[in-house]
């Protein structure tokens, strides 16, 4: 199989592309169902996110009169989704796939992860809606809060792995996973515990769920940037969100717990791990607590996750 074909497959089919989309929708379905159970409801079928997409696909595309530019209004969800599908292809599944360096390394992934936020902001802004603008403003504030910690977390892991491998640093996801498979997961490395803690705070914020769903708070700003989106365009956003869940959770696993046997079984184990992360780390949290205000969230991130991440990096460098 030539490199080009391999790249195409990884981006279009597996582990990105179709697989990531399907798996992401499944995770979303599980999330909704589990949340319903926790709230004492029956909940929708597991495939409900897929049904939603189909339904949205049959709606007409609507653009508000105040939108600044139709093309940009409709193109942004597509850009976000494409970026996430590409990012999903970069997520290593321990024992099953290793990321091709041609897709980019960990640093590229970190910046790809910012794209959904960016497209949401542009979407909110370009729609001409006041709620969209407020959502945009909140999203940026939140990003300013959580990007610092994630950069530090990534740096800490990269330095820790790189030094252990006899280099200065490595941003190769494949190498980070390989290292853990040989020397044990980073989760069990006390030096990286603060980093892990910071990551735990990072991903709900990045995924935009309670208590950090401030930009899209439907009870406050009517889903913020998404308020004017409907039909297929909204569907694209939903897909983006689903794939993003795969990317963020997958990144977490790759960085801290890439523990799975090789072969098809490994894929199953990985999927289960992802599901557990989703249900425990996302669903339980979002059902269990309420939303923060933006200033609270900002202050919170500037305190604890940042502190933890800085501490982690410092410990890594000193150790």
């Amino acid at each position: 199989m030539s490199t080009q074909t391999a790249l195409l497959i990884s981006v279009l089919l597996f582990p990105g592309g179709l697989f990531a989309l399907a798996f992401g929708l499944a995770l979303k379905g599980a999330d909704r169902r589990f949340a319903a159970r926790l709230q004492g409801r029956v909940g929708p079928p597991l495939a409900q996110p897929l049904f939603d997409l189909v339904k949205l696909g049959f709606k007409r595309t609507m653009v508000p009169l105040t939108a600044t530019n139709d093309t940009i209004f409709l193109a942004v969800p597509l850009v976000g989704l494409a970026a996430m599908l590409h990012a999903a292809a970069m997520i290593p599944i321990a024992g099953v796939t290793a990321t091709s360096p041609a897709l980019g390394n960990l640093l590229v992934l970190v910046y790809l992860l910012a794209i959904p936020g960016v497209v949401l902001m542009v979407a909110g802004s370009v729609s001409g809606s006041t709620y969209g603008a407020i959502g945009f403003s909140r999203e940026m504030a939140l990003m300013l809060a959580y990007e610092g910690p994630i950069v530090l977390v990534v740096a800490a892991v990269a330095l820790r792995t790189g030094m252990a491998e006899g280099q200065v640093v490595t941003f190769s996801l494949a190498e980070i996973v390989r290292h853990q498979q040989v020397h044990g997961a980073n989760l069990f490395d006390p030096v990286l515990w603060p980093a892990f803690l910071a990551f735990v705070f990072f991903y709900p914020a990045n995924l935009g769920i309670v208590p950090f769903d401030i930009p899209e708070a439907e009870t406050e700003v009517l889903e913020g940037p998404l308020v004017e989106y409907s039909g297929p365009a909204l569907g694209l956003f939903k897909m983006m969100s689903a794939v993003k869940a795969v990317v963020v959770l997958g990144l977490g696993l790759a960085l801290f717990f890439p523990v799975a046997p090789s072969g098809p079984l490994g894929l199953v184990v990985w999927a289960v791990e992802m599901l557990v992360l989703m249900l425990l780390g996302v669903t339980a949290v979002r059902v269990g607590i309420g939303r923060m205000r933006i200033d609270q969230a900002f202050a919170f991130f500037l305190k604890w996750p940042l502190l933890a991440a800085v501490a982690s990096l410092a410990v890594v460098v000193v150790a």
Binding site: L8, L12, G57, R60, T61, M62, V63, P64, L65, T66, T68, N69, I72, L74, V79, L81, A82, H86, A89, P101, A102, L103, G104, L107, V108, Y111, L112, A114, I115, V118, S125, V126, G128, S129, T130, A133, F136, S137, M140, A141, M143, L144, E147, G148, V151, A155, L159, V168, V169, T170, F171, E228, P232, A233, L236, M239, D295, F298, A299, V317
Partner: protein, 1268 residues
Amino acid sequence: MFNLPTIDPLGLAWMGAIFLFFGEVAALLALPSLGRVVLFSTVAEVGYLLIGLGIGGPAGDVGAVMHLGYQAVMRGLVVAAGWYLVSRTRSSNLDDLAGSGRRMPVAATLFGFGIFAVMGLSPFKGSFSKFMILYAAIEQGHWAIAIVGTVATVVAAAYYLILVQRICLEPERRPVELAPAPAGLLPIAGVLAAVTAVLGLWPEPLVEAAVHLTRTLDVAAIPRFEAPWSTIVLVPYVGGFVLWAVGRSAPRLRDGLAVVFALATLALVALDPTLDPASRLFALIFAGISAVMVVYSVDYMAGAANASRYWFFAFLMIGSLIGLTTAHELGNFYVFWELMTWTSYFLVVQDESPKALKAGFVYFLMCAGGAYVMHFGILLAHAGTGSFEFAVLAERLPTMAPAVGATIVVAFFVGFAVKAGLVPMQAWLPLAHPVAPASVSGPLSGILTKAGVFGMVKVLFVVVGLGSLHRFAFAGVDLGTVLMVLGCLTLIYGEIRALFETELKRMLAFSTLAQVGEIVAILGLGTALAVDASLFHVVNHAAMKTLLFFAAGAFILRTGHHDIADFAGLGRRMPVTAGCYALASIAIMGLPPFSGFASKFLMVWAAVAEGHWEIATLLLLGGLAGAVYYLRVVATLFFEPWTGSEEVREAPLSMVVAVAVLAVVIVVGGLAPQSLLALVTPVGALVASRAGLADAVLPNLAMQWPIAAIVAFLGAGLVWLVGRRSVAWSGRLSVVTMIAALAAIVIERGRFDGLSLAFAVLITAVGALNLTHATAYLAHSHAQPRFFATMTVMIAGLVGLCAARDVVSFFGFWEVMSSWALWAAIVHEETDAARREGFKYFFFNTVGASFMFLGLAVLATAAGTTDLAGIGRAASTMALPTLATGLVTVFLGLVMKAAQLPLRIDVQMHPALAPTPVSGYISAVLLKSGPWGVLKLFTLFGGAAVFARVGGSLAGLPSMMEVIATIAALTILYAGAQAVVQNGIKLVLIYSTVCQLGYVLLAVSLGTSLGVAGGLMHFVNHMLLKDTLFLVAGAVMVATHASMLDELGGLGRKMPITFAIFLFAGLSLAGIPPLNGFTSKWMIFQACFESGHWAFGVAAMVGSLFTLAAVLKFAHAAFMGAPTARALQAEEAPLAMLIPMGVLVVASLLVGLMPGLLLVPIAAIEAELGLVPVAASLTGPLPGLEGWHPGVVAVLMMLVALPLVPYLRLAFRGAGVQRVRVHECGAADLLPEATRVGAGSLFETPTAVIRGLLTPEHRAPGSQREHA
């Protein structure tokens, strides 16, 4: 015959001295009664007789007899003329006598003539006998008597001058009815005056009579004061009389003759083979400036009162200046020295106003006093050597006792210092220069002060010689030290006073003090190089200051005002004169490419070469002060509206010609300094050979101009000229000029190294784009050609900088690029704020350049070469303190240029006020000269090996580069955060620029293969992207006339292309993969982490988030959201704007998809710089272990997105898009304005935190407007 054996002769002499002194004091106290003054004064003269007789000896006896004879005649004249005046006025009180010059011109003139004769002013020879007596005292060792006599002479000079001023020159104070003229007195006075004149010109008969009378045998012991005058002197001297005579009947003929005489004098001086180099140099300066002065005076003095008197004294002054230089013995030297003072005194008081008379009084008294002191030294020298001849003195003076020698030197020095205006003897200068007619103030400042310098060089450095000066030291302090100290004090005093001066001519006068201070301080260094440097500046300052005064005179003549503030906008009415004034101002600030730069460069060079860094620093600081007050005037002339009378027009022809000739000299002196240096260097050689020192090795002072810079420079001139006819063509021509320059760079590419060639190509290419944009941006502005021209000059400087291989070119073009041309482009809008901020920017640039220059001078003088590569070779063996000082100061300057902390751009300027094409160019291109310089000099100066010598290394990096990297990393965070909180359209961008420059500088200072490659990638990417953003901002500002983001909103509907361009460039700059802005940042991140600088890496990554916030804020506030009223009236940008923006975006796209386009040349550059080149191929991926290909990623993302497009169903059954009202919770009556979320409301929490952290008290520039 006069044998008085009963009295001790010495006692007699002392009696005489005491009598003389108290007599003169009594006469002074007897004022204002003319009768009593003359009486006491006459009686006091008896003191001289007693001294002469008491001292005895040939000189004493002969002197006493001659004094008696002289006094009989001259006193008789004074008494006769005075009596006539008193009896006709019927009062002896000076208050009544004032104005006699008008009432009784003949008698008053005779009286004045008599007074000057009595005073002993050459050439009236009253001094001859007096000085013979003093000489006798000195010769016999009675110095004290001579000193008392000298002091008494000074006292007498004071009241004599008061008499002359009050009686002959002042207007009358109270009306006087004249009595009938007494018979006979006037004829008697006339006869006596004639006798006085004859005695003055042919003293020999009287001398012989005195010799005979005293039966003196030893005739040789009588000093001979004078030698025949040089024939050159006779031309202006006789000319003066001719003009005076002709002028009474035919003023036009007089003017023509004046020019002929002046040119003849100049020609004779130029052809005279007998002059030694020092004399020749000064004779040429004096004659040259005089000729220009004469031309200027033709129209300036046309119709003025007392014009004939003016011409008479002007030519006498010219003659005495030439005489001074042609003198080869001290007698003539002194005679001309006195004449110079005396004639120029009459020119100073030309207006006869009280102010002029007071200034003239101080001037005359101080200079005459100084001359008397000098005379004391002359007599002392003769007493010791028996000769006045320079040649003989040069032989014998070095053998004198140190104490005597030192006394002689000090006496001479005082005389010279007063003339040069050195502190603390400067009081006359700022008084006299401004009140004189402008035609005289120019030469007063330009050449008369230089007579003092001439004296120092000729008498002290050449005749006495540097070696002897060292020997003649008081308590270890030799003259050199005195010169340096007083020079520096004068410099400081002059600059400070000039800073606070509001009257133009007074400001210029104080500036003269400062410049003379520089000259003298450098002269004090006492090397051949220093002599060359300071004399070169003498030449240049003569031209520059004379021009400035002449132009100022024209302004005053045309407007009738004197204050700088009254000349606002005069540049519009008097373009040539004011233009030349501006040119001379730039030159005198020491900015290239004019003559002042060359000599200032050489002076700093000379100071540093001698290890006198403090003097070099002081010179540079002085330049800064000069920049402040000179630029202020230029700004007033050109960048303020003209509100005065419509009648004001260009100066008369002869004045314009004079000013233009001087301007040409200034330009030639800057472009071909060797042409003027050829006159100067023989003097340095002469001084050196007298002292047995090595001759000076001068650096090549000419800037090396690449063809492209010449093209751009000439093109700028053409742009300006064409602009007088057609603004549109001037704009197009500027674009063509840029393209031509680009072509020239490509043709002459061998002249550039790889790095610089790439930079130069970008400089001109982006320049062409921005100028294209500017043609549309300025379509409804004013004075566009001026802007096009200055921007083109600025770019010419940048191109020249790229080609520079030696220190002079490097620093010279650096200054062209970042000083006056830039300033003129920035202050284009002519508002107060623009002038203020433009000046601030200029000032900081000059400070940075000064640092850089000082460092370069330190390194270059230590290496003994101006060649940059040569310095690099010498650096590895250079003494460590020198190397460290040099490198640190050079790099400090470079880091300042990149606007890094702590000298950020927000302190430097508020760029919103400059036309956007130029502020974009500054941000995108010009400031890159900082990182470019760091990289170029780092490698040229020997790279890591040399830099590691300066304080070792940290983490594998030379610590100095580590410091720069740290500064850059902090700047990224600081400026990034600032950009987030700004609300000014351009302020957001400019802070972002500083932030991005931090990336470039950080990466380049890492010095690793990947780091430098990443830095250079970002260098280009940021250039393309930031320029795009600025051009967009410009388009927005033109479309809306807004300057704050809050005034905008919803523009994207009206300007969709502009909006799309902005969004692309902004997001790319913020680091959205896989766009070009991200790829270069990715390399920088990698390089930071891989070289172990993880903190830098984290800072760089966080910084890009700030950029994102700033860009999105801008995009939202300007283009998206609900439209404002302004936005609804806006239109899409014109093609002239869209095309440059489009070209930039396409370029960004291309280098984004194919980084090899940049990486291949970068790898070549790295190889040339001596670094390991990064792996690069045209179609290949990014370098590094984990190198990926942004093109591949882009294609993959596109392929992922394509299958999803149909999902949007845009074409399905013609469904298309349905338009709906935006959701407003049911409210239907909300105006768009009311629902807008403006720039000020975005990111409230982070903004508050950033503001709290960065600006707790201080408000950023423009913040008042934000809140208004």
